[in-house]
Symmetry: C2
Subunit: 280 residues, 2 copies
């Protein structure tokens, strides 16, 4: 069976999101219950590899998982179910909201740079620098030439971060408009989810095609070797969570990190402990 990495990696070139089935399950032929169990099964290795990453932090490596997708596409669910499999001590999650006044007074990458995780830690972006070429483009939040500038700026930025030791995994959570409608209706049906709902979310759906186009342009122009895009069909939450788990796992495995050897004499230290004056 092909790997999730090769099945979900977006080929370089023009992007047509209508040709990718949001309800597909590439590289997986199981169902919901198996997928949920399979995800849990990834937990121990994910946790161990994160710990190994931290143990080797002097080596300067880190992983950055970028989650980008329309409202209800499941960024929160991935954080809870997939990222939640590793210790919160080893993860730095940043949820990007509409930029603050201070953030708007800086280049769009200023807040992104500040949010990067240190070596040894898995950084996770819930939304990201791509907001500035997605909603930024659809809603004309910046002049056209500024939007145009940003694609190259993002590529240069990501290249630098990758060259500095960070494995970047960019995931576009691909849902259908019909599935989003179901999820919004489900939010409206559940008083515990009303706080997540904003009437503007419905208005935004009228721009669905514009967002798709903005995604297609952004995906095509920033799909680099240094920071490749994965398009993750996300109409099935269980597939989405499992797929991201595999992408994260492969990124960590790819670092090929071993436990750092002791920089002290292990037997000598054991003897010191055995010989110590009783402590109490």
């Amino acid at each position: 069976m092909t790997s999730f990495v090769s099945a979900l990696r977006l080929p370089v070139g023009p992007v047509d999101l209508t040709a990718i089935d949001p309800a597909g399950t590439p590289a997986y032929d199981g169902g919901k219950e198996e997928a949920e169990a399979a995800l849990e099964g990834l937990g121990p290795e994910l946790a161990e590899l994160q710990e190994r990453l931290y143990a080797n932090r002097a080596g300067g490596r880190s992983v950055l998982l970028v989650l980008q997708g329309m409202d209800t596409s499941g960024k929160g669910g991935i954080l809870e179910h997939t990222v939640g499999l590793v210790s919160p001590a080893g993860v730095k999650v940043t949820s990007f909201k509409a930029p603050t006044e201070e953030e708007r007074a800086h280049d769009f990458l200023w807040r992104i740079e500040k949010a990067l995780a240190p070596a040894g830690i898995i950084g996770v972006f819930d939304r990201s620098q791509y907001e500035d070429v997605l909603i930024g483009r659809v809603r004309d939040l910046a002049p056209a030439d500024e939007i145009e500038r940003r694609y190259g700026a993002i590529n240069d930025f990501e290249k630098r971060i990758a060259d500095g030791g960070t494995t970047i995994v960019k995931c576009m959570l691909h849902i259908s408009a019909a599935e989003q409608k179901e999820r919004l209706l489900a939010r409206l049906d559940d008083p515990a989810k009303h706080w997540k709902f904003n009437p503007g979310d419905i208005d935004e759906r009228a721009r669905w095609a514009s967002y798709r186009e903005a995604y297609e342009i952004a995906l095509e122009r920033t799909n680099t070797d240094a920071a490749p895009w994965y398009v993750v069909p996300s109409d099935h939450k269980w597939y989405r969570n499992l797929a991201i788990g595999h992408l994260l796992l492969e990124a960590l495995r790819g670092l090929d990190l071993t436990w750092p050897p002791a920089d002290f004499d292990v037997e000598h230290e054991k003897q010191r402990l055995r010989d110590e004056v009783p402590v109490q």
Copy 2:
């Protein structure tokens, strides 16, 4: 059965840690396997209450869990097993190391203030402001009158944070010197744990009594209503993890937060979705 909160709450007044059994299991009469299952069982309510906290973030409430204890007492284990029960998006963990040059150029609470979680988020301190009156005192890292000043400064700081809406839960992870010795030997026996071991950890054991005294002083002087101390017997990892889970749960329950009501007309929004022009 008494609650973990009442069983572990340190009474106001002089503190004698030798009178508290590090292998005790107050408020719990089960064993290891039951405790581990019981901890997992707390997960769904912890996760839901954290989400409720976030949903109500405009109300300004947050929770701060302070983990303080000797090396190997289990701060990392609590992060992984207990804090890991809630979504990493709802948690901000800060692991305090030896202060940097920039941090030392500021008051000792400067880096603490910067690390506080925003409203709606559970902040967790892995080590804390107490390092500055623990190792600070034992190793004479500051003049005696400066150490003396810090107890009051901590109380004032914590009172302000608590008055601002943060429920502070301070946990002293109480282990015996014998148990620490076993855990250090276990680290030496496992190549996957050598990176966690520092020969200085053994030297520090010679100061065990000085640390205990520093803890007793700190606990007595900062055991306030605004920011009470809990002494958590931690020789049994499974008890420690479960106990902290209960303390966190009670802190969240105590906020008595309900789901925010919709600030829009739910039926109207449902109708808009049903009536919308087809989106694709």
